[in-house]
C-alpha cells in the first residue's frame, strides 16, 4: 500500500484530479464551460443518444401496456361518437329524400283536399308480362283496397289490381284490360285511355273513341275526367304522340306517352279515398 502512494502512477492520477478540480472550480466561479465538459460531452453524445432512443422505445412499450385500458376506453368513446354521426347522416339523407317526395304531394293535396294518401314503395316487378305490373309494400293493413288509384307526383300510374295484407299489385295504364275515362286538357275531347298489345312494349298506351271531329294534336296533355268514380278528376295521364284513324271505325285514337315512366317508377302514392269515389267495379275490356 505504501508503495502505491509513493509510486509515479499515484502522483500522475492525483495531478490530473487536481487539474480537473481547479478547472471545474474556476469554471464555476467565472461562469465558463470547462474544457473537460466539452471533451467528455462530445465523446459521450452518441452514446447518450443511443441510450435515449433505447430508453424511449422500452418506455413506449411500457406506456402502452400500462395505459392500454385508457386508450381502449377512449377508442370506444370515439367509435361510438363516429357511429352516431354516421347514423345521423344516413337519417338526414333519408329525411331529405322523404321531404322532397312529400313536397310534391303536398301540392296535389292542397289542390284536392279530399284525397287521402298512402305512400308506398315498389318492391317487385312482374317480368312475365309486358304491361309494367309491379308490387308495392302497402296492403289492406295500410288501408289500401282493390281499385284504389295509384299516382305519383307527376301523374296517374294505374290502380290496385290485387290486395293482400301487406302488399298490393298495381295494374298500370299500359294494361289493355284497364280503362280510364279521360279527356284532352286543351280541346276537352273525351275518350277512353287503355293499353294496347302493340304499344305496351314501347311503354305507350292509347286514348280511343275520340270523336271524328276531334282537335287533339301531338303534345296535348291527357287527363282523367273523373267519370265512373274510379279515378279522380284532373290526374295527368300522358301526352299525345300522334293521332291515328281507327281503321274501319269512324273514330280516331291517339297514341299517348305516359307522363310517368312506369318501368323505372320506385315510389308511388295510393289514393285510398277521394271525393266522388265510387265502389263500383270498373269496366274492363274482355
Amino acid at each position: 500500500m505504501r508503495f502505491f502512494f509513493k509510486s509515479k502512477r499515484f502522483k500522475a492520477l492525483l495531478s490530473i484530479i487536481l487539474v480537473i478540480a481547479v478547472l471545474g472550480g474556476l469554471a464555476g466561479v467565472f461562469m465558463f464551460t470547462a474544457p473537460q465538459s466539452n471533451i467528455f460531452g462530445t465523446i459521450a453524445r452518441p452514446f447518450q443518444s443511443a441510450a435515449t432512443a433505447v430508453s424511449d422505445f422500452f418506455g413506449g412499450i411500457a406506456n402502452r401496456f400500462s395505459n392500454s385500458g385508457e386508450f381502449e376506453q377512449k377508442n370506444k368513446e370515439l367509435q361510438e361518437k363516429l357511429d352516431e354521426a354516421n347514423y345521423n347522416l344516413t337519417d338526414y339523407e333519408n329525411v331529405k329524400r322523404q321531404l322532397a317526395f312529400y313536397e310534391d304531394y303536398l301540392k296535389i293535396k292542397k289542390e284536392n283536399e279530399s284525397f287521402e294518401f298512402q305512400p308506398a314503395v315498389v318492391i317487385g316487378r312482374d317480368t312475365s308480362q309486358p304491361f309494367g305490373t309491379f308490387t308495392i309494400n302497402a296492403g289492406s293493413s295500410a288501408g289500401v283496397s282493390l281499385y284504389d288509384p295509384v299516382i305519383t307526383s307527376a301523374g296517374l300510374v294505374g290502380y290496385v289490381g290485387e290486395v293482400s295484407l301487406t302488399q298490393s299489385v298495381v295494374k298500370t295504364i299500359l294494361n289493355p284490360t284497364l280503362n280510364v275515362s279521360a279527356l284532352d286538357n286543351r280541346t276537352v275531347d273525351s275518350g277512353n285511355v287503355t293499353g294496347d298489345a302493340t304499344l305496351a312494349r314501347d311503354g305507350l298506351c292509347k286514348i280511343t273513341y275520340l270523336p271524328r271531329e276531334n282537335l287533339v294534336a301531338a303534345g296535348d296533355f291527357i287527363v282523367s275526367s273523373g267519370e265512373g268514380g274510379v279515378f279522380p278528376k284532373g290526374q295527368i295521364i300522358g301526352t299525345v304522340e300522334q293521332v291515328k284513324s281507327s281503321g274501319n271505325d269512324l273514330g280516331y285514337y291517339a297514341v299517348i306517352k305516359p307522363i310517368v315512366d312506369i318501368a323505372t317508377v320506385d315510389e308511388v302514392m295510393v289514393i285510398t279515398a277521394f271525393e266522388g269515389q265510387k265502389s263500383l267495379k270498373p269496366s274492363e275490356q274482355k
Partner: protein, 204 residues
C-alpha cells in the same frame, strides 16, 4: 336434433335458399333482359327440381314456387301454383318412367313445359285482347326461348350445388323402375314354377 343434422334436411334447406334467390332474381331488378324479354327463374328451378326428385316432393316444391309467383302477378291466385305443379309432375314422371336422369333428357323434356307455360301466361295475362297474337310472337314465345337457353347454365349450376346424381349406376338404356318391374315379374314366375314343381313332386 338428429334430423337437423341429416343430409336430407340440409338438402331441402339449400333448396329453400335456391328458391329464395331465384325469387329475388325474378322480381327485383337483377334480371338481364334481351330486347325487353325476361326469362323465368322460378320455372327453371321447378323443372330442375322435377328432373331429380320424386313426384310427391316435386308437387309440393312446384306448388310453393308457383304461389310465390302468383303473389306478385295479376294472374288469378293459384294459377301459377297449379300450372307449375302439373308441369313439374309431368317432367318428373317422364324422367322416372321413360328416361334416365341426365342433362340432355332434362333439357328436351323441359321444352314442352316452358312453351306451354308461356302460352298459358299469354292467354291469362292478355285475356286475348286486341292484337294479343302480336304479344305472343313478340314477348311470350321469345321469353320461353330465353328461359330454355338459361335452363342450361342453371341446370349445370344446380347439379354442381346439389350434387344431382344418376338415380342408379346401371349402364345406359336400363331404366331402374322398369328393371324393378322385370325383376318382380321373373321372381313371381320363378315362385310359380317352384310351387308347380313342389305339387308335381307331392303327386309323385
Amino acid at each position: 336434433m338428429k334430423f337437423l343434422k341429416s343430409p336430407k334436411f340440409k338438402k331441402y334447406f339449400f333448396y329453400g335458399i335456391a328458391m329464395l334467390v331465384m325469387y329475388l332474381i325474378q322480381f327485383t331488378p337483377f334480371m338481364i333482359s334481351i330486347g325487353g324479354v325476361y326469362f323465368s327463374p322460378m320455372l327453371i328451378l321447378t323443372l330442375c327440381f322435377a328432373s331429380h326428385e320424386t313426384d310427391f316432393h316435386t308437387m309440393i316444391f312446384s306448388m310453393i314456387c308457383g304461389m310465390l309467383v302468383d303473389v306478385n302477378s295479376l294472374c288469378p291466385i293459384g294459377f301459377h301454383a297449379i300450372v307449375y305443379m302439373l308441369l313439374g309432375v309431368f317432367v318428373c314422371l317422364m324422367n322416372k318412367f321413360y328416361f334416365q336422369r341426365r342433362f340432355s333428357t332434362a333439357f328436351v323434356i323441359s321444352f314442352f313445359p316452358i312453351v306451354l307455360n308461356a302460352v298459358l301466361e299469354w292467354i291469362v295475362g292478355t285475356k286475348l285482347c286486341e292484337n294479343a297474337v302480336y304479344l305472343l310472337t313478340d314477348f311470350y314465345l321469345p321469353s320461353a326461348i330465353y328461359s330454355l337457353v338459361m335452363f342450361i347454365p342453371f341446370y349445370a349450376l344446380f347439379t354442381l350445388l346439389f350434387g344431382f346424381k344418376r338415380v342408379n349406376n346401371k349402364p345406359r338404356g336400363v331404366v331402374p323402375e322398369k328393371l324393378e318391374m322385370v325383376r318382380r315379374k321373373y321372381a313371381a314366375r320363378a315362385a310359380r314354377a317352384r310351387k308347380r314343381a313342389a305339387r308335381v313332386q307331392k303327386v309323385k
